[in-house]
Symmetry: C2
Subunit: 424 residues, 2 copies
Amino acid sequence: MTESNPDIEISRRRLLGTVGAAGAAGLALGATGGALAHSAFDDSPAGASGSAGSLASLGATQVAFDGEHQAGITTPLQAKGHVLAFDLAPGAGRKEAAALMRRWSDTARLLMAGKPASGADSGIALDAGPSSLTVTFGFGHSFFERTGLTSRRPTALDPLPDFSADRLDAQRSNGDLWVQIGADDGLVAFHALRALQKEAGEAARVRWQMNGFNRSPGATAAPMTARNLMGQIDGTGNPKPAQPDFDKRIFVPAAGPGPAEHAWMGGGSYAVVRRIRMLLDDWDKQSLAQQEQVIGRTKATGAPLTGGTETTKMALDKIGPDGKPVIASNAHARISAPEQNGGAAMLRRPFSFHDGIAADGTPDAGLLFICWQADPLRGFVPVQRKLDRGDALSEFIRHESSGLYAVPPGPRDGEYVGQRLLEG
Amino acid sequence: MTESNPDIEISRRRLLGTVGAAGAAGLALGATGGALAHSAFDDSPAGASGSAGSLASLGATQVAFDGEHQAGITTPLQAKGHVLAFDLAPGAGRKEAAALMRRWSDTARLLMAGKPASGADSGIALDAGPSSLTVTFGFGHSFFERTGLTSRRPTALDPLPDFSADRLDAQRSNGDLWVQIGADDGLVAFHALRALQKEAGEAARVRWQMNGFNRSPGATAAPMTARNLMGQIDGTGNPKPAQPDFDKRIFVPAAGPGPAEHAWMGGGSYAVVRRIRMLLDDWDKQSLAQQEQVIGRTKATGAPLTGGTETTKMALDKIGPDGKPVIASNAHARISAPEQNGGAAMLRRPFSFHDGIAADGTPDAGLLFICWQADPLRGFVPVQRKLDRGDALSEFIRHESSGLYAVPPGPRDGEYVGQRLLEG
Ligand code: HEM
Ligand code: HEM
């Protein structure tokens, strides 16, 4: 099983969520064939014996580092996340960047397999299984100047346009290198963060870092779409890996059209990363009906206001008794829908964030919005342009930082991430 | 089952940790009798049917709000935590404080049962079970002036002495009221935080707030003592609820000696809360042997350097081949051990914290140290006094904030927390 088979991954989660039910328990035990064994679990004297014992345990779930795509894109949301950007150190260039990407890839490969980092491991994740750890690496626009590789920089990485509602902090935006860490255990995630920071050594220094979280597996009786800190079901409209055009929308074609200089991105994806503060005190003052109007879906089930269940298609043309569209013309889910944007689609895979209380006394909390697409100009940009003009949600959110990163394909045969760029 | 029976609680966790093992799965299903059913789980159309289905799910675990002691003291560590202090608003006194404690208790009771807050619930925790949510309330020294109750203030609440290594930020210390929230799901914990803040209304405003985390249940193959962000097993020496003197050490006697004015604290406990930064960059430069000398225990297993396993008693008198004590005279676990402090003992129940990167570029991470005792002058104070003078760990930590709170007993028969003080 590799990370690029999200269906298996998801169904394993589904088992975890209901493993206590008499029927499901047997099912869980019957389904161990696909589980990757984790060394720490098998070696542990206290460990459940055999791989059957590990399957239902959150810690044992392992995601492959190598593969067609990097992990952390179609991997189910994890309970904890860190996203951070690094800048190459003054004087560091292509050679140092290549060495760093090799060290980082080696470390990520070990940690995602539940093994300690080579050298002096801090021990923070000792005893724990990989806990669905993923590490994902990307390159920012400035990386290509720093490494003398501007000729191989895809135009898809051109800076995002300005949006009128942007309140961006440059200190927390962009950066030469981007790292996304996710895991279902907070110590496993922190351990990876520290190990990768250590491997950066003198080659790069942290530019910014953010922490996020999502539901813990098993918190709901059955797995379901995530909620965000506004209380909404968030992720419903995402393209599904089973859909025929999923790969085309999310991943750069492996050997598609486009200039040969950009072939290193075949199988890769572009990540847009935005720290979006939620103005929760204002939001909470709205009635439930007002909140539902803002999105165009009910809060409890995520169903369109035009009826049905979460998965029912929105009836965007439906007119209410007052002669107005039931899903308001400025409703967030209407404006962002692919059919309103020439088919523009992205895979949203966010973390919530909560950094305590801001200077003005309001909660410093919101969405670490991360979306994935084969081309930001046919994903994030047109949708955000439209939202920026007329989204009812705008009043309750504030975009505080922004980054756009080229995320290379997954490594093959002991490659490191980005090798096809840096040595190609 | 009530929260005051930590053994049942812990054994339930133990089952969760190994539920996938063929043997344990049967056991888990057989043990459902004790599980409190959670409404959201039972009502959910997607939910596992019947209470047997809920048991193995992290979300279904429920801790009682009412009881002899408040929840969140002997409750097993949760994956997420918020601790925060409030100050009563100018003009608010005993009456407003009593009304607030009633509102807060009502809300905590609902949320800990997995129900929405009364009034407009934000929906953030919808679908999730209570996920071991606990809410714990305490009163700081200043609360008693604000409410005109100084005659009933226990001397145990006298300000802690200054310690030479203290680098305390007054803005993040003390406060009239203290609230501790813990849950195994981040959205459940955040939901409780927001609901309680909302209930504070005009009566109190947040003074400071901190976020923390621990291992997720199931991250290790079998439940075990927690690790902290230095990578050490942390909690080994804690008094165990099964020990005969546990209650005497941790809880104020229900009808013990002491003046009648303080009877309202019978069954309560005192919490010392310190934000202790770890100087992780310095720590990581030490060799494993050096790190183990600092504590006096091995990092991998937590066993004393004098041999054995985690639970072996430290042989403090043992001399090594170099003529020096094997567990160094300044080792943290030696200096803090009850036998070195006239039996002084406390229950340490911390969260790790990680708030990104500090202004100086080092990680803003460490331990939200929370310890519980019947009397801080026979728990925290003598131990910290000794650590302050000679602890090898001092070099690698920095106490940044401090609070001491009187945590009343658990409420009975629809009481609110603190009612015996505020209406007694
Ligand atoms: C804090 C900020 C945001 C919140 C709280 C939010 C919330 C939501 C919610 C509740 C939905 C409906 C359920 C769903 O389909 O997932 C939704 C849909 C969507 N949002 Fe957002 N959103 C935010 C920002 C953004 C941004 C910045 C973009 C992209 C520019 C975006 C793009 C979309 C898309 C494409 C959909 C799916 C529409 C469909 O296919 O039906 N959202 N969002
Ligand atoms: C970041 C700060 C601290 C760290 C990393 C830390 C770490 C540890 C570790 C690894 C142990 C050995 C395992 C165990 O018994 O739990 C320990 C024991 C202990 N620590 Fe700390 N500690 C810290 C601060 C404190 C403070 C401030 C106090 C109280 C004033 C304290 C009191 C104790 C006690 C009472 C023991 C148990 C000793 C025994 O019974 O054997 N610690 N600590």
